[in-house]
């Protein structure tokens, strides 16, 4: 895709999160707290895509994502790809994937789960990736993608 088509300029350093299903770009941005950081960022919505028909793209300047952030994205946009940009070049391109165990990534939606009351990191076992089935390691409840991302 040419720069002209993307409507925005290339970034020198940072991350491009591509192939986000259309409609989920804002959610990814909010998940990364982009509004609260100093990085310049752009959310492109409903971009034409051969793979997805329509897609969203999020560009974040001068920031590479942590493992925890990548896991968060994988929860809501499992089809997304990450492009790491250094000196105007894509130095790494990877498909986002969920780890077997998600630690510290999300809060347990079960209001009576002990992790919502004690100083302890949440922990989920990924029992199935598609459709997503997460089991809280502590309260043992099983949650769907909608339940953990809404």
């Amino acid at each position: 895709m040419s720069e002209k088509e993307l409507l925005v300029r290339k970034i020198e350093n940072g991350t491009v999160i591509d192939h986000i299903p259309a409609g989920f770009g804002l959610k990814v941005a909010s998940l990364l707290n982009l509004e609260k950081t100093h990085s310049t960022s752009v959310i492109l919505m409903n971009v034409e895509s051969k793979k997805l028909g329509k897609k969203d793209v999020v560009k974040v300047e001068n920031r590479e994502l942590t493992e925890k952030e990548v896991s968060k994205i994988a929860l809501i946009a499992p089809s997304a790809t990450l492009n790491i940009i250094r000196d105007w070049e894509v130095v790494e391109k990877k498909q986002i994937s969920l780890p077997e165990i998600l630690e510290e990534v999300i809060k347990c939606p079960n209001k009576n789960c002990i992790t919502n009351y004690e100083e302890i990191n949440s922990k989920f076992i990924v029992e199935e990736k598609e459709p997503l089935k997460l089991r809280c390691y502590f309260c043992e409840r099983v949650f769907t993608r909608e339940e953990v991302t809404s």
Binding site: N112, T115, Y117, E118, I120, C136, Y137, C139, E140, V142
Partner: protein, 307 residues
């Protein structure tokens, strides 16, 4: 198969072989109890009974089991007299108590609390009920009771009757019975069914035959074991509706006549209105035997996990 230091948090952590081993050990404990043999396996050891919510049977049953093994018991059942009332975290409570004891038994109103305690403590932790989640020792004693009274579990028709949605006992038990290849009939009022995810897990894991009904008579007809639990009024918005459901799910002596001759009735207790009091005297009522079996089973568990 070693149990030393193992935590007992969820029935889902146990294999069938491990549960069979506990049942075998419980049998030995029961024999010792019957012969009045004094046991000293836990002499000099201390069990901490941490009850963050009320309990009669489970707390006393663990205390009795520990004392019958020659050990002693400390603990609390009323958090108003502890540092918890001052706002101490569960993590700090566990870090403190583990210095005083060799085994921790915990009941707590929040789901996942026993797992958290086990993560914190180096001493084995036994879950005596964490919110609506699990009550594994109750399940193991229920399996022991059924095996003792019916001679087997495999192939039996077991009807689970009452509020199957909110009770931790029924969720754990359905899993345990499925593991031991019983056929399950789930009898509950509409809206209080066993959670879909529990049913799905059981069917996928154990290929269990499950029948679901809200008709109590048809649910009980072919049952070898009728396991009843309370329907709590507070689960309903409408008190009139609650009383109507409680009434229609009450086991009466008339109903009992239509069940199999050799059927037995179990209940984790306390019971309120769900079983007609006159049934207590019938040969089918076995819930007080079930209470007794809690002792050898908990003796076996404590003895197996002791450090």
């Amino acid at each position: 198969m070693s149990f030393k230091g193992k935590d007992v948090i969820s029935i889902r952590d146990f294999s069938k072989e491990e549960i069979e081993k506990i049942l075998e050990e419980a049998e030995k404990m029961e024999t010792s109890l019957a012969k009045n043999i004094e046991l000293n396996y836990l002499k000099g050891k201390i069990l901490a009974n941490l009850f963050f919510e009320p309990s009669t049977r489970t707390r006393l049953s663990f205390a009795s089991a520990m004392q019958k093994l020659g050990g002693s018991v400390i603990g609390f059942e009323d958090i108003t007299s502890t540092s918890v009332a001052k706002g101490e975290s569960l993590i700090d409570t566990i870090k403190t108590v583990e210095k005083y004891c060799d085994v921790i038994v915990i009941r707590h109103p929040r789901e996942g609390s026993a797992r958290l305690a086990a993560e914190i403590s180096e001493k084995p932790v036994i879950n005596a009920g964490d919110g609506a989640n699990q009550h594994p020792t109750q399940t193991i004693l229920d399996l022991y009771t059924i095996k003792k009274l019916k001679g087997r579990i495999k192939g039996l028709n077991v009807a689970l009757v009452g509020d199957l949605k909110y009770g931790r006992v029924m969720k754990s038990l359905a899993y345990g019975l499925a593991m031991f290849e019983a056929n399950l009939t789930l009898v509950s009022p509409v809206g209080l069914e066993l959670p879909e995810q529990t049913i799905k897990e059981i069917v996928e894991k154990f290929d269990t035959e499950i029948i679901q009904t809200d008709n109590i008579l048809s649910g009980l007809k072919n049952a070898d074991v009728i396991y009843v639990c309370r329907i709590q009024k507070e689960r309903f918005e409408d008190v009139y509706e609650a009383e109507k459901v409680q009434k229609s799910f009450r086991i009466t002596s008339q109903m009992l006549e239509k069940t199999k001759e050799e059927a037995i009735i179990l209940h984790a207790l306390p019971k309120t209105v769900e079983i007609e009091p006159s049934i207590d005297k019938t040969k089918k009522a076995k819930y007080f035997d079930q209470v007794y079996y809690g002792i050898p089973v908990r003796m076996a568990i404590i003895n197996l996990v002791r450090p």
